[in-house]
Amino acid sequence: MADRTAFAMPSLGADMVAGTVLAWHVQPGDRVQPGDLVALVDTDKSEIEIETFDAGIVSELVVPEGMQVPVGTVIAYFDPVGTGSPRDDRSAVPDAEAEPTRPAILPDQADQADQADAAGPADPAGEPARVPHHEPRVVSPLVRRLAEEAHLDPERLEGTGPGKQVRRADIEARGATRGATRVSPRARRLARLAGLDPTAVVGTGPAGTVTGVDVLAHNRPGPGQAPVGTTTPAPATTQPAEPGVARAPGGTGRRDGTADDRSRRATAILMERSWREIPHYHLATRLDVSTMVRWLADTNETRPIGERILAAAVLLRATALAAARHPRLNGWWIDGAFRPANQVDLGTVVARRGGGLLAPTITDAASRDLGEVMHTLHDLVQRVRRGRLRGGDLTPASITVTNLGELGVDEVHGVIHPPQVALVGFGAVHEEAWADGGMVAARPVLHVSLAGDHRVSDGLAGAAFLTDLAELLEHPEQL
């Protein structure tokens, strides 16, 4: 009791007679050092942070926030450091409330104080304090600072110095296992945007530093997604694909395939005819699309959202240019003869919400630039999804592209839409092992396939088409 320090409302100016505690900066159980800011006080003239000139452990906050008290009123008590637990002291002063200038403590604050005490020092009441000597332990300023940085309390450590004094090595040894989490600036920014506590993230940087990629990994839904920046950055669905269609109808409660029987039947008739009549050949190749992925990321970074380009548009644009160079793949087989098309009318496959597929056409796609293809595709998808296709959207296509990348499928061996003679299939962009110049590296890889009608073209023509397509995709900036 005698050791307890009373902390009184200071006089912050000759004319100050009373102050209001606006906010406490400490809680019962906190250690304070001379110079620590303890509370924010309103003097009617201004708000002033008040500091303590004594060291100790806060045992009670006597004045609740919002209360005005005269100068000189005790507003808090500090227990001395290192002389047993605050609980012991509290039990030793049952008459504390009888002190005349002391306002009644609010009940909930008293509870808080109790809880804080209970959660604080580990010594149960009545047992001898862990620290063998009752005089305050000597802790050097350096050790004190290091301990604070490592969120350790030097008073509660067993030191290895003389008289179990805590030395720097003791802090460093503990700090190595418990040390403060380092969070990179980028990780902090990402965590703030994600509403995360970055210190809760497992860091993989040097000395366990939490880096941006750790926050992204922490926040990423579910396993199995490729690293950031290497796949189409969209929450793609992963349901099984139906052969020959670009995008399965999906969504909760409509995955049974019965939503649109009429559309399904039309597809069935077409595909049956294709498989019966068209002698297909299939070619496939793997492309390192690092350039495209990076170009898309860079391009979209600098564009307003309304002008962003999706990978799908790049693939369509490249296919259109390649098809224009390979007339044997761009046209129709009608009445036993091939009729080349005089422009590339590019068929796409778009799923309708509520089930079913539509294959709207981007007419004369080879003469539209990339931005226009993206714009057209965007509009087309909107119209399909809203069931408001225009007449021109259903122009018969001269070649079709199916893109199963959104479904996470690697490779498509497609079924040609008769009377067309070729179908180009794109899979998902995944990181794969890629050998180059005698070294293996992880690269974003895209599988491209071609289904060709062997009555019109052969593997040689198909291979030349794929080679051209690959070259076009290597230079997305020129598309």
Binding site: L193, A194, P233, A236, G251
Partner: protein, 80 residues
């Protein structure tokens, strides 16, 4: 519920009329609950940008996998 969450659910329902906003768990990944491809995602982000002024760059997509995460992100960016 957070008003931004509400807004996003409305935009989502407008984009995909078959979605019942009440059935969407805002804390769970959206991709596990509704069927959105990259074009849908772009359309949703455009709508969010139009209504809130916040454009989510593609590199931040991994941060906004759920409705609530997107709302937190949007609010954080609006707050500066």
């Amino acid at each position: 519920m957070n008003p931004t969450c509400d807004l996003i659910l409305r935009l989502l329902a407008d984009l995909a009329p078959e979605i019942d906003p009440a059935a969407v768990d805002v804390e769970l990944p959206l991709r596990d609950q509704v069927d959105l491809d990259s074009m849908d995602t772009l359309t949703l982000m455009e709508a969010v940008a139009e209504h809130t002024g916040v454009e989510v760059p593609e590199r931040d997509y991994p941060l906004v996998g759920s409705v609530a995460a997107l709302a937190r992100y949007t609010d954080a960016r609006r707050a500066g």
